[in-house]
Symmetry: C2
Subunit: 339 residues, 2 copies
């Protein structure tokens, strides 16, 4: 029988390949899905037909019948910031290499409604699972309260109810910074914290406090910032006015930049008079004046792990929720010195 593939403008479908290869469409499907019981000669014939026609499988149709879209959703807060951006980047890379597409929802503000809407939105789209980057208590709370229809992993999500969590050990980070400063002989360590509704900020405060307590030192009143350089600048001006400040642990690098700026303006030498430690290790911090000693968060690892956990949950069947903690690392530079 003469083979004549329909050549309209229409993209070829499985039936066209089947006709071309002289088999049934099901056999084509089997080849595409690496089904074991296909004669290797048949397989080659099908593969050739696919190649010849430039056939590409319609994943939407596939998703309809398998009820799996091989798409993962990501909900994040302001992906303009370095941390979330890096985490999402790690997630995307890991997801893609695990064979999943990534659909993103980037929230302007995280409140319960926002998180729920985002989750609904992604569920509508038919994602197989979701990663929620939930650094604020409100987001973690929203997640804990929500009746989740789909497998979910929270990043930086505290002890978020039913879902698995992947996070950086913020407490350890706070300790690392504080202990470093104490080891240099500073009597005590001041702290510029992040906004109080962020779990990360809270963890860093806790680590700082714990380290001071362990060393038998009084913890001064922390100064609250909002992660922005501007708030760090303001905190820095306050600190510069105090005479007994010799060491400051700032909850992120951007605020540390503001602190450094304020100190420079007020003629406070770093690290001559005051030592400063930041948090995050953004690419710029090595070129601050002076280069900033900081605590590095491996955002990439966090992203990767979150996908690992999610995919295992998706493909490995019903696994109980996990909690994966990524350790931070200490990055010494020149903004800290002995008293």
């Amino acid at each position: 029988m003469a083979v004549g593939p329909t050549l309209g403008r229409r993209l070829p479908v499985m039936a066209d390949v089947a006709k071309e290869a002289g088999v049934s469409h099901q056999t084509v499907s089997r080849v595409l899905n690496d089904h074991p019981n296909v004669r290797s000669e048949t397989r080659t014939r099908v593969l050739e037909a696919i190649d010849k026609l430039g056939y590409r499988r319609n994943l939407v149709a596939r998703a309809l019948v398998t009820k799996r879209s091989r798409t993962l959703g990501v909900v994040s807060f302001d992906t303009t910031l370095y941390g979330p951006a890096s985490t999402v980047y790690g997630i995307e890379q890991a997801a893609r290499s695990a064979g999943y597409f990534v659909s993103i929802v980037s929230l302007k503000s995280i409140d319960k409604g926002g998180v729920r809407d985002a989750l609904d939105y992604l569920a509508d789209q038919g994602v197989d699972g979701v990663v929620v980057v939930a650094p604020q208590r409100s987001a973690a709370q929203a997640l804990a309260d929500l009746p989740l229809g789909i497998p979910t992993v929270a990043v930086e999500g505290g002890q978020a109810g039913e879902v698995s969590v992947v996070c950086v050990d913020q407490i350890a980070g706070g300790r690392l910074a504080t202990e470093h400063l104490l080891s240099l002989g500073h009597e005590t360590v001041w702290h510029v914290s992040g906004p109080s509704d962020w779990l990360e900020a809270e963890g860093r405060v806790a680590g700082w406090r714990a380290a001071l307590e362990q060393a038998g030192r009084e913890a001064p009143q922390p100064l609250a910032g909002d992660w922005s350089p501007r708030s760090g600048y303001e905190a820095g001006r306050s600190l510069a006015r105090m005479k007994n400040v010799t060491a400051v642990f700032v909850a992120n690098d951007q605020m540390a930049l503001g602190v450094l700026r304020a100190f420079t303006e007020q003629g406070v030498r770093v690290p001559g008079q005051v030592s400063v430690v930041g948090f995050d290790d953004i690419p710029e911090s090595a070129y601050f004046s002076p280069p900033l000693t900081t605590i590095r968060q491996d955002f990439d690892a966090v992203g990767r792990h979150s996908i690992e956990v999610l995919v295992r949950q998706l493909e490995g069947g019903l696994e109980e929720r996990q909690r994966l903690v990524v350790p931070p690392t200490f990055v010494p530079r020149v903004s800290t010195a002995r008293v």
Copy 2:
């Protein structure tokens, strides 16, 4: 006839709603799609049934028959960087408010194969259109050469063949920076450029050169960087050694940070001895030492416009390709001064 919706664990489908409301599934479909010819009483009944059953339409099935997924693809290079991250953020916000989902592919390196693979990948997923953030010449070239099956918009993509382009006027930006420095009385302006295969870098060089030429000044040899603070630092060390340098236009803020660092180390005062202008206006630059005069790119607007163009192309039928240019703005701070 007694109404009894099947209540297994199974999610309700359109037929369930139809049964509940005592209509045909097609009528439910019509209500959902705002079809005009539905009696308002029927509509209410259907809506009630939907509400009662908690029905949500299966968008995958819908996509299969309509051949539209209401998903847009985004291909970008390293979304960890501030520029791409902000652009993608703008794209995502705009797409969502236009009723589209966003699927992201973030490339580690942009070569022709990478762009093609990403495009294929997204096409497989069934996206309706694609935004390619193609700041490198290689990416723009790849895009120009590719036989595109789906509507595409290039961001920062030069004169990219067949596709519409949305970009910031880099030449104007380069001029703005240079003219500002000249207006302060500097004899000439040095330049630390971005990598030569980036269109943005090229545009800034061109603007800088044009401004110098127009003022009848000699253009010194530009120093090539790679956008990183480290490369700016190295360029800064070179510049610090030259005696006749009084003004430098650096192609991005991160490199400018490196330049400032090098100057500080070498005891070169900014803006006392040398004036520096950056590019991008990253959030940190207002807190550099000294706060950086720079050229602001409205990434958000670029993202929004790219979606506008794409959606118009998608929904408004076959429109010819466009070129939309977003002007940069001058942000004066303290790193520049009169000679």
